[in-house]
């Protein structure tokens, strides 16, 4: 619980209204009650502002006059909402120390303020810096390292020679450092190319549940600072992902893909191997990126959804497009 005045101070915002007003949680404009804090981050919810029952609202000064409740005034209401969410977070804090049911190698280095959960395994030469957390059943491989304040949720697996920076979050079932998919065709089938590189992850990176980041074949797979990656994403060997880039769920990057800084890949995108995407590119959902992108901007592929009956007609015609084009050219030639 915070008072409005407390929140204004912690968030570095001006406010209007009752400094002593108690606020016990966050809610949307539509759902918030008198003890809750709401926010207006998008004009399309402006109609909801006038009707809100929230005790207070984070709002841009331009809209404060339309707010029936107390206000926290922010030039960036969505950012202020994010910071407020951190204040109201009630997720259970990790317990410092090494759980008696963990297995930690004698020559691993675990900071006294780090946390190793039950059934977690820390292999020889691995390091947990101050405040690092290896959740229940999680695995930290030989010589791998979690930087200060990095949290690994239960059951995530980090193979050997994976370095994770500071203040990262790795969700459950994520796998960092599994072998890249490298094989050479041989006379008796596929010959495995041992993946000799590791993984290097910067600071303030978040990696979602069931996401896989493979180790490099010869050099490292590299994820820069402030990258955020959603669930069920595949990052293949030798990918390099630039700062602040965001990758949504179910996206897959093939090997040696290079993604620039400040990019956003929506969900279900696929990127073929050995291409390069420059900085400041947005790729819309389920796009198939089959070549390098050298100009910032938004890119797409796919076809629009339609009722299946209508879609089938279009789909048949798609296969006839080359013939349609030739028929069209023939008519033009006859003019």
């Amino acid at each position: 619980m915070y008072t409005l005045g407390d929140l204004a101070q912690r968030l570095g915002l001006a406010f209007s209204g009752d400094a002593q007003r108690p606020l016990t949680g966050l809610a949307s404009l539509a759902a918030a009650g008198p003890g809750q804090l709401a926010f207006l981050a998008d004009r399309k919810y402006l109609a909801q502002l006038g009707a809100t029952r929230a005790g207070a609202v984070i709002v841009h000064p331009d809209f404060a006059a339309q707010c029936p409740a107390d206000c926290l005034l922010s030039d960036a209401p969505y950012l202020s909402f994010a910071r407020a969410s951190q204040l109201f977070d009630r997720s259970p804090p990790p317990v410092p120390g090494i759980h008696r049911a963990a297995v930690v190698a004698a020559d691993a280095r675990v900071h006294p303020q780090a946390s190793v959960g039950p059934h977690a395994v820390v292999e020889p030469g691995a390091v947990l810096e101050r405040g690092a957390v290896l959740g229940a059943g999680a695995y930290l491989g030989h010589g791998s390292r979690l930087g200060a304040g990095t949290r690994v949720f239960p059951q995530a697996v980090i193979y050997h020679d994976v370095q994770v920076g500071e203040h990262c979050v790795i969700h459950s079932q994520a796998v960092l450092g599994a072998d890249g998919f490298g094989f050479a065709p041989g006379p008796e089938g596929w010959e495995k190319i041992c993946q000799l590189g590791g993984v290097r992850i910067g600071n303030h990176v978040e990696i979602g549940a069931c996401t896989t980041v493979d180790r490099g074949a010869l050099e490292h797979t590299v994820i820069a600072d402030n990258v955020i990656i959603d669930n069920l994403v595949q990052i293949a060997h030798n990918c390099r992902i630039g700062k602040n880039t965001a990758i949504a769920g179910c996206t897959g990057l093939a090997g040696s893909t290079i993604i620039g800084a400040n990019c956003t890949l929506a969900g279900g995108v696929g990127v073929v191997g050995h291409v390069e995407i420059c900085d400041n590119v947005h790729v819309t959902g389920m796009t198939m990126v089959t070549r390098s992108i050298t100009e910032p901007g938004s890119y797409s592929s796919g076809t629009p959804m339609a009722p299946t009956r209508d879609w089938k007609r279009s789909a048949v015609r798609f296969s006839q497009l080359d013939s349609m084009q030739r028929r069209l050219a023939a008519l033009e030639n006859e003019r």
Copy 2:
């Protein structure tokens, strides 16, 4: 092993033939031998009926005359087959009680007829009702709950504040309640929006292996009764999925998607955020759902598969479609 008479009684079906016939298992019409039970659920296998060597067949009364074997007569043979499969299931039953190698918090509540496997972890305030099973190495977070008869297979992870109803099945590596992918752009990179909601799952829900259901940002992510979800599916924060809906593998739902009741999403479908799909909608495989669907029916997107050489020609023309349309309009104007 059952006799034909036993099976008829347990399945509530009439039968024709030898009540004492022993049946040791289920098989397809083509593969079944004299000691096995087969079924005819689809007319397209009718030709196999006459040739079957099965000891008995679950069959609609309309086709009984064509069956060379004993019959179990069912108006819904596929449903009867499903029920028979449950009788013949030989999967190993869970062992009741708390395994000595599990870690269970003192104030967790584990019903005496519940089962907690080796290396499983039950956090403070968590609850397992009668007959609930937390498999080997699985994790049940703070204050989370498994309803009566719900089974969690090895290594699945359930974060804090996740409520799972009765008689659900959660397969291995599924992750319920990881953080939704919520971040606000800030001056120093992405600012995390703590995900303050939980997950609420109804009764008789099945969730596949490596499927992720994220917790809500402010309110809960909700999955209604009788929903079935396959492997490697992403359900983002604040999704709401209606009763009896089925979601096949590799599908991804972005945040705040609402899916109605009795829907079927085939494999590899992607649904953008903040859209709503009404009841009784079918979406075909790999469709990109980019807008709300307000009418029941079947919906699709994508292009048909072709030999790569042919496909390339069509794909090039796709990029020229707008120009083709203008050329066509010009010709029409010249008439």
Copy 3:
């Protein structure tokens, strides 16, 4: 560390240069230093050969004259590189024996030269042959079997009645033998079809992280020898995959799909159920395979990526294709 002469002998290759030259690792032509071995496997890197600082290069005899460094002469340089990578692999070897923190059923059979890691679970009747490795926290279900030399990485889950052959690699969070997605519609919702089959996996198979291979409904799901499967792939119940086939990341096969031998499925492919793909088929990335393929060759679907503004125009026209075709036919009729 190897000398050039050592490497030549171990790889069965002729060499030119200093037999005593020490080589400590592998690197690309561009990155290699004087103590490292590089390789030229693709003519497109020929320009880099002349400039390399590598101590030695694996090279086809045709290009040896252009190599400024010592040479290992190979008719198949990429294959020789793969074998060299195995010599330079420094990944930590598993520790033989059963870890004190593992839980192994009394009637499981663990070869003295097998390895069971901390917090691993081996259920009754399960078998680990000579040199098999069950990593930390991994689970081997009732009656399941790991053949000689097969390695299961931490946290992978193998349900009951799953047989894995020799010299396989199963990466972390893979799930073998979870229930296939089989349900019959019933009056009270979906009725579960218990999945009575198992999984049968041949020799020299590699299965990636977070990949799922479901058990069969009545018969087994089958993966033949030398199949390689990347991360986050879904293999549904009753699939059968032929020898030497390679399946890249994020691909999904629906139930009862049959894939021939020597096929390659690129990333993000989807295959509908009950179709059959013959031997020697290549499917390009993100293709939707909606019918059987009976001729070897390369197959594709999808549309090309474009700037979103351009793509939107094409996408609108896609929905009008049938009308465009009819307008075109009308013009042709007017001739």
